[in-house]
């Protein structure tokens, strides 16, 4: 039995480009909702043109997670659009409110626009780490991105999410290597390791005793057109 995920409150998911923020955010939302927690989520990714939270809105709606996204007519616009509903959901948060930000420092600049609403709330800002991605394969690289994000968001990082993976090529060795990496990063940065992720098909093969943090199973939602997203339930 893995340690239970107990994340609540306002959680901002950040990280470098392609670290897996959106996939983590979607799966975290689904996991908590299925555990009986009231969850709302906002897509704040204003910079990524493809593979955004809005692609998974129907699967999330089916299990009762409300996703705040830009108006449908602007889905494919190459424009940064922030729905005014987001400020409202921060002022009146659900038990778990997930804000899925865009990549790097550029992707969190949007948080400054929400500063008035965010300033009055206690919140977590979690950095997603995949050491198999460029620029975050070293502790120094992760710390540099952490500082850049903190500066742009004007919010201090509070924790880490280990998301070591090579998509379909992920093995148990990658998970263990990634866990060691993110544990080292947690020690050096003084940040909490909130949880790590593992692809759903590897979850049952995992020796959970090896990990001193909760493990979130990832059912992949953001897939290319020749693949089917995994069922969330």
């Amino acid at each position: 039995m893995s340690l239970e995920l107990k994340i609540e409150g306002i959680v901002i998911i950040v990280g470098n480009y392609g670290s897996g923020k959106t996939e983590v955010a979607i799966n975290l939302a689904a996991n908590r909702k299925l555990a009986g927690v009231d969850v709302r989520m906002a897509d704040l990714d204003l910079i990524n043109p493809y593979f955004r939270t809005r692609e998974a809105r129907e699967s999330l709606a089916r299990i009762g997670v409300e996703v705040v996204i830009p108006p449908e007519k602007y889905f494919h616009a190459d424009l940064p659009i922030l729905s005014p509903t987001v400020a409202g959901m921060i002022k009146n948060p659900s038990r778990l409110t997930i804000l899925d930000a865009g990549g790097n420092d550029a992707g969190v600049a949007v948080l400054a626009a929400l500063a008035d609403s965010l300033g009055k709330q206690s919140l977590k800002m979690l950095q997603v780490i995949n050491p198999f991605r460029p620029f975050t394969e070293t502790v120094e690289g992760c710390l540099k991105i952490k500082e850049e994000i903190e500066k742009a968001a004007k919010i201090q990082m509070t924790g880490l999410i280990g998301n070591a993976n090579l998509l379909n090529d992920t093995t148990l060795e990658h998970i263990e290597e990634g866990y060691e990496f993110v544990s080292k990063l947690a020690r050096q940065s003084g940040l909490d390791l909130e949880f790590i992720t593992v692809p759903a098909d590897l979850f049952t093969c995992l020796d959970l005793k090896k990990f001193s943090c909760p493990v979130l199973s990832i059912k992949r939602q953001l897939v290319p057109p020749w693949k089917q997203p995994a069922k969330l339930v």
């Binding site: 480009y17 493809y50 198999f132 090579l166 090529d169 057109p225 020749w226």
Partner: protein
């Protein structure tokens, strides 16, 4: 092979260029290609290379012309409207016989179109785009790994022919993430270009300077230059056609011709149909110019084959080349979409079985 990493196609394209030994990159950002510039803005300074953002794509094309003319390995990336702007320069570069690599991460058109994946620039890439009698060598990857591999091959090919090579990837190739490994040994020194590059008189054997130009006012000279170009294109057809046959051993009744990420959808459809006992073969051109003419003809001529279909993210462009290759031997159909919605495997199965 090095360590496997997870990369966006756009990042892998940038990294592959560096690994291939290209340290000169001039570009202007445009969705869905901008991550190449973003990535190289970090990486080029790390390896002592140059990334210069130009004031427009028109300027980029002539920066490429200048650098290639001086004998440097150079490349750029853009997306459809940007490539249109570069097309005048591409014609000049082809006319002046300069090696350079272009990447088009294609978005929907015409005009500003949209930012989602498309293969609507097939004609532009394979039939010209700019003015005059010239061709680009066109390569079309279907995965992030293949995009990286093709980038590394593109530079030696451009130098072999002294001709621009273009990588034609639809928006998904740039945006999707896949594991990728980089070959360690493809880095090659640029070929000896002392006989044509304007790289300094210290490299000349005589006092005669090299001149890089596409202007030939003498009609005989201009005709001669075009004959040289034509001979190169004929040589490409003999030596550098690439294609992948898929499920071609069985008694297929239908033959698909498809490229890029559209062929990934077709592969899933072919696998699903095989489970149902329906055999469908596919030729996936990896070079669009030179086109795998003989392979398509022979695949269509197979006795079991009753019909051929070109499946593309455009309103029927490659289908004209497929028709040309099949030479009326079999009926040739087309199916495609070009708004940015990539057809599902189920849709492809329906289309193919209803032929």
């Amino acid at each position: 092979m090095g360590k496997k990493v997870l990369m966006k196609g756009n990042e892998a394209i940038g990294e592959a260029a560096i690994r291939a030994g290209c340290l000169n990159y001039f570009a202007y950002p445009i969705t869905p290609q901008s991550e190449v510039a973003e990535y190289l803005s970090h990486r080029m300074p790390e390896v002592g290379g140059v990334f210069l953002q130009a004031e427009s794509e028109v300027a980029v094309a002539y920066m490429i012309y200048g650098a290639a003319g001086a004998g440097a390995r150079v490349f750029t990336t853009s997306s459809s409207p940007g490539i249109s702007l570069m097309s005048e320069g591409l014609s000049y570069i082809a006319g002046a016989q300069l090696p350079a690599v272009f990447v088009n991460i294609v978005r929907g058109g015409p005009g500003l179109g949209g930012i989602l994946p498309s293969q609507g620039d097939y004609f532009q890439a394979t039939k010209g785009g700019g003015h005059g009698d010239y061709h680009l060598l066109v390569m079309a990857p279907e995965s992030v790994q293949e995009a990286a591999d093709m980038m590394m091959r593109a530079f030696p090919l451009a130098e072999k022919y002294r001709n621009p090579v273009i990588i034609l990837g639809d928006g998904l190739i740039g945006q999707m993430m896949e594991p990728v490994e980089f070959h360690d040994h493809l880095r090659t020194d640029p070929v000896n270009n002392n006989h044509w590059a304007t790289n300094g008189m210290q490299f000349r054997n005589s006092s005669k300077p090299n001149i890089v130009k596409s202007l030939f006012l003498d009609p005989d000279e201009l005709n001669e230059n075009n004959l040289i170009l034509k001979a190169k294109y004929e040589r490409m057809k003999k030596e550098d056609i690439l294609f992948e046959p898929y499920n071609m051993d069985g008694p297929y009744q239908k033959l698909i011709v498809s490229y890029g990420t559209m062929s990934r959808v077709c592969k899933t459809a072919i696998d699903n149909l095989k489970v149902k006992g329906i055999e469908v073969g596919m030729i996936r051109p990896q070079t669009l110019f030179p086109f795998p003419e003989t392979a398509v003809f022979e695949a269509a001529a197979k006795e079991s084959c009753k019909a051929v279909i070109s499946i593309e993210l455009s309103m029927g462009q490659m289908v004209e080349d497929v028709q040309r290759c099949v030479q009326g031997l079999r009926p040739v159909h087309w199916y495609g979409e070009c708004g940015g919605n990539v057809p599902t495997p189920e849709k492809v199965m329906d289309v193919v079985t209803s032929l």
